[in-house]
């Protein structure tokens, strides 16, 4: 019982900390890290639903992010709508994409799904680079100056921070609710043993599909949030493999399949990423991605459950030593 209270208190503390962070650290630099952190946490938590809980490892999740990132600027560029009007369209397209990928692969072993995600993400990235309607290789830009409030073009990053925080809260609350219900149990059963799950009547294919669709929706929203903040998108920043990688490593580092794992992962990786990017020069040729690759391999080899599982193994020893002292 006391453990439950402790985690409740911890969550409240965390929530409060996130709420007051921009008021305490009010410089533009800190605000930017905060916004980046929230975005990474949202994306990774969305990935977590299908990759962490259900165990269906998508390494091409950028496809949903990218679709969600392009649609706001497409509706703005083509019809002059405020970018947020593109969010539902992004969601709809992402759902369609999820079905195209999930339907054939969820009846085969897990590797097919993973391969399909990376192939389709690449396919879309290259395709968008050739499609003039979406700006081809150059990409699209959003409103430079807000025409109305609904353009959500703010000078300061503060409003973005709280919008993103709100979305993260909704996502985590949704995940927490599902975790406790039949859906959550079925996901974990599928991850643990699909064969056993089937024998107990778990509708494996439908459940995986539902998880993928839900994950796709939130990832799409994350992409939309990103583009509304940044005001610019191109095929690489939308569909690049590094976006997929970041989602995976953030979730896996903290603990894939746990509610707060992605949050913890983001707390560690985003400041780390900012530090290495400025120390060694950012971008694709930077040290950051060598580091990411190494971290992913280490996680896979030694602690697939991430820091959460590590903590579970180490905590009893620490507690014993604390009591002995």
């Amino acid at each position: 019982m006391s453990e439950y209270l402790t985690s409740r208190t911890a969550v409240c503390f965390l929530g409060a900390a996130l709420l007051v962070y921009p008021l305490v650290f009010s410089g533009a630099f800190y605000l930017d890290i905060g916004v980046t952190f929230l975005l990474a946490a949202i994306s990774a938590s969305a990935w977590n639903i299908v990759g962490g809980y259900a165990g269906q490892v998508s390494v091409g999740h950028s496809m949903f992010f990218g679709v969600g990132a392009y649609t706001p600027l497409v509706v703005y560029t083509l019809w002059g709508w405020p970018p947020i009007a593109g969010i539902p369209l992004g969601i709809a397209l992402s759902i369609g994409l999820a079905i195209v990928i999930g339907m054939p692969t969820f009846r085969l072993t897990g590797h097919y799904f993973s391969m399909a995600t990376i192939a389709v993400a690449e396919l879309i990235r290259i395709f968008f680079g050739t499609w003039d309607m979406v700006g081809a290789a150059i990409g699209l830009q959003g409103p430079a100056v807000a025409r109305s409030f609904w353009d959500l073009t703010f000078r300061s990053e503060l409003p973005y921070y709280y919008i993103f925080l709100g979305v993260l809260a909704i996502l985590l609350a949704t995940t927490a609710a599902l975790e406790r219900r039949r859906f959550g149990f079925y996901l974990r059963a599928i991850k643990a043993s699909e064969r056993a799950a089937r024998s107990l009547g778990v509708p494996v294919r439908q459940t995986k599909m539902q998880a993928l669709v839900l994950s796709a929706i939130f990832t799409s929203v994350a992409g939309s949030l990103y583009v509304i903040k940044t005001g610019f998108i191109d095929p690489d920043s939308a569909f690049g493999i590094l976006i997929s990688v970041q989602m995976v490593i953030v979730a896996a580092l903290g603990g894939a399949g746990t509610l707060f794992g992605p949050l913890v992962g983001a707390l560690i990786l985003i400041p780390l990423q900012t530090a290495t990017n400025s120390a060694f020069g950012g971008g694709g040729t930077g040290l950051t991605y060598i580091l990411y690759g190494g971290i992913i391999v280490v996680i896979a080899r030694f602690e697939p459950g991430g820091l959460f599982e590590l903590w579970q193994r180490v905590a009893p020893y620490l507690r014993k030593r604390a009591h002995a002292a």
């Binding site: 219900r181 039949r182 974990r188 059963a189 643990a192 064969r195 056993a196 024998s199 107990l200 509708p203």
Partner: protein, 243 residues
Amino acid sequence: MLLEATNVAKVFGAFHAVAGADLAVEQGEIIGLIGPNGAGKSTFFNCLAGETTPTTGRILFDGKDVTYALPEVRARAGIGRTFQVPTAFEDMSVINNVMVGAFLRHPHRNDARDQARRIVELTGLRADQQARSLGTPGRKRLEIARVLATEPRLLLLDESLAGLTPTELRDAIALVRRIHDMGVTIVIVEHIMEVIMTLTKRVLVFNQGRVISSGTPEEVVRDDAVIEAYLGRAHRKRKEESR
């Protein structure tokens, strides 16, 4: 007739794992499937459970054709099965494991939990124990508890009583009997003769993909064909000579 398997065959390339087997099970029976290793009983069992699709033949459950139905569909129809190597959901507790099964008939969490608690008590497990800390007998018990939560009408037990100490075996047999008394029809694949003799009322003997004998356990054990299958021709000759 609860389960009716007719002329079920499973062919892998040129190899006939099962070469035409029939099985008819009435509601309330306990049937045993025995035979030497590689005799085809496990493959036949997997056809019944939906893990493998038969090459030919038909399987009817309660009148419905389930020959090609997925395992999850069979579970919903009322066929449950255990696995020879227990497959617990390692990272979940005992009660949560059983709840996965309970959710089939009780979509709401509280109902599922109540159902799961009842079954955990029935099988003598500890609800809060982590599945991964269970030993083999505990895992086998969990395996049974979990599928029991799906409220099957037909339970297929795949060597669920192997590898137990005599005391554990006695408890396990008692558990199976209790389940049978609850009204569940049981088909059990087993090597342990004690289980077959004490639990089952009717036995099918497999050898080389075919059913070579069927009857009560006592009849089957004395059947020449069965002796030959298990012990070889020499023993059959010896038995004949000793008459």
